[in-house]
Amino acid sequence: MGNKVILLGNEAIARGIVEAGCEVASAYPGTPSSEILPAVARFADELGTRTAVEWAVNEKVAFEVAATASFTGKRTCAIMKQVGLNVAADPLMSVAHFDLAGGFLIVSADDPGPHSSQTEQDSRYFAMFAKVPCFDPASAQEAKDMVFDAFDLSEKYHMPVMLRPAVRVDHCRQDVELGTVKDLGRKADFKKDIRRWVCLPAHVRINHPQLNAKLDSVREDFETLYGRYNFEVPAKGRAALGVIAGGVSFSIVMDLLKAWNREDISVLKIGTPHPLPVKMVEDFIARHENVLVLEETYPVIEMQLPDRTRLKGRWNGFVPRAGELLPEVIRELILKALGETLPEEDSSELKAAIEELKVTPKPPMLCPGCPHRASFFAMRKALPNGIYPSDIGCYTLGVNQRDVDTTIDMGASLTSASGFYLAYRTDGKDQPVVATIGDSTFFHMGILGLVNAVYNRHAFVLAILDNRITAMTGGQSNPSIGDKLRKGDEGRQVDIEGVVRGCGVSFVKVVEPYDTKDSAEVFKEAWEHAKNNREPAVVILRHPCMLLRQKQATVKVRVNPEKCIGCKYCTNFFNCPGLPFDEAAGKAKIDERFCVQCGVCIQVCPHGAIEAVEGEEE
């Protein structure tokens, strides 16, 4: 072997999944996990395996599809981000009790920071809650290696096993060793056994103690058989500090010690945080007076120790209780634990320069030409006094122009709309409410909220922002498109209008969001219908995502300085990167670096100051 290529951490995990002989892989995209499944499909195509690779409509579906496929004796896996595991929590809790047949791997990617999530939760904690073993990789290569061990462990004890890569492993790029596919030659062979596959209370009473016994055995294995993931890097001589570290924190500590050329700090790496090899950790603690624990993001290692009184960690707040453990944070923590300080760096000149040059970090924004921006503009124009519950996707960025009033989680735009409707209705008030949701999120968890609203007769407008893609996570397919990941594997498109009508909605209109006048009219009409008939009305705003780079008509635009009065209406309500406000001139301007010539802003300016440049329309 020895064939090394540079892979993203997520691709390394995918490669491990294919090489380990996994035959069914199901996932729902979510940062930082999204690149795993497409890479599973790519490697499966390249290596010619028969692995079924599918985007599921949500994580619960992915989990159940993959878990059940493992009942036949095959290796399977379900892949998601940490908040996706919340959606899949129900099957996770039950399947943990099962005596599985084939290996079943759960990959749950965490997002300490967070960078792209609504929580900073720790999937290792969920593994502890569900009583399933968990591996926590420190690098791309280790993540790939752990996939094999996770499958083996799952088959040794007939239980699900979790791999928890955090974002810096998912999105690290590293040279990784490639291997070949393990051909397990298994045929699906489901052996009917009610005792084993039906989670009746009577069975759980037997299975729960059995699960506890399995965990005890896994803990013993982790103490002794997994030295490649759990090991000590000892100090030379007496250690001034002992650091217990999991995940990428271990890698950061090792780089720091090397850069500092320090050998008076010993490090215990823990790659299997649950169930914790307690004896190994206690032995390390006993040999060190001064112990620092670095883990992301909850004190999972600490919580499993009967005595944590001497530890400096997340538990007692020595390590901040929230936030990513960046190298700078770890540097400070090690120095604090040692009672040392670094010479203060004088960065006052840089700070002054940054201030004078007005350099600020740029928050993410909807792309230039994004159809959501136009949809939001029409929504606000039609119903300026509306309440706008929204959802999880690119359109959450509509918060920049205050077109998003609430988000909770996937699918909550609809249920929040129901909540607002009921709260105002009990006062006898008709409060306009517009819920916005994307196509993929609608299929993920929106449909149930719609059925609930039809059944209970909740009056609001549901705007489905159908951009024909799962955009935020990088452009994955979903039922509204119908494509599948593996070559030659055909899917089928599911028609959103048909689903909406099937849920019992009578007002369904499809509009082109770039025509903001027309869509504003339809928004008004939809609210009138909803209010008068006491039922949800649905507007589908359909225009392909700009990331798909489909050809569309271009309109070169300019701001007419004679007409622009500097009112900032376009900045506040349209907020396009291609149409910034020139503070010096006191007027809006077109920034050619970003403008994609969609021409929508022409409809936005109340003073007609944004004009098409004549003769250049294509």
């Binding site: 999204s34 040279d175 760096e345 993410p364």
Partner: protein
């Protein structure tokens, strides 16, 4: 060798570290880097860390980078603190006056930093019909132009030639030269 590459989401930053990684691996060196995917990619500030050599972690500690490549001058200035004393930076400038800022000059002198700028947008407007998606390869050419990055222009040419999609290969190579010539041309 530790690189920090910064810019705005959508500027094609990831391709830059792919090129650098390709070169390092073909030399038999180990690589480690960290990228930004997801929400932050939507036009917001993005940062890529890239390390060549015996490193364990993908992140560059502030004050230790050997080179900063900035696709946006604001992002470049904001991230100068990543550089170790004596390191270099190459910035894509849309407002060259920024480099004349007194405080910035003092900071650079105090730490022995060598900050170079290239008007990338102007060059691509004039020479490549305003196709700014070639900024990433232009910056790689510029990096060699200022003699930074520990790779040769020939290695960049070869790696870009290998990694760029067939359809855009010639344009990518042209942009590499535009960046290089800005500093090396006559």
């Amino acid at each position: 060798m530790q690189y920090v590459i910064v810019g705005l989401g959508g500027q094609g930053i990831l391709f830059t570290s792919r090129v650098l990684g390709h070169i390092a691996v073909s030399r038999g060196e180990r690589v480690m880097g960290s990228e930004v995917h997801g929400m932050a990619q939507r036009g917001g500030s993005v940062i890529s860390h890239f390390k060549v050599g015996q490193y364990e972690s993908p992140l560059v500690l502030t004050g230790s980078a050997d080179l900063l490549i900035a696709f946006d001058q604001g992002e470049g200035i904001r991230n100068l603190h990543f550089l170790r004393p004596g390191a270099k930076a190459i910035l894509n400038l849309h407002d060259p006056a920024a480099l004349e800022n007194v405080h910035l000059k003092k900071y650079a002198t105090g730490r022995g930093l060598e900050i170079s700028g290239i008007p990338g947008y102007r060059i691509l407007s004039e020479k490549m019909n305003g196709r700014f998606l070639f900024m990433n390869v232009l910056m790689l050419g510029a990096m060699c132009g200022i003699g930074a990055g520990n790779v040769s222009i020939d290695e960049i040419r070869a790696a870009v030639g290998t990694l760029a999609p067939e359809k855009h290969r010639a344009d990518n190579l042209k942009a590499v030269e535009l960046g290089y010539e800005y500093f090396r041309g006559n």
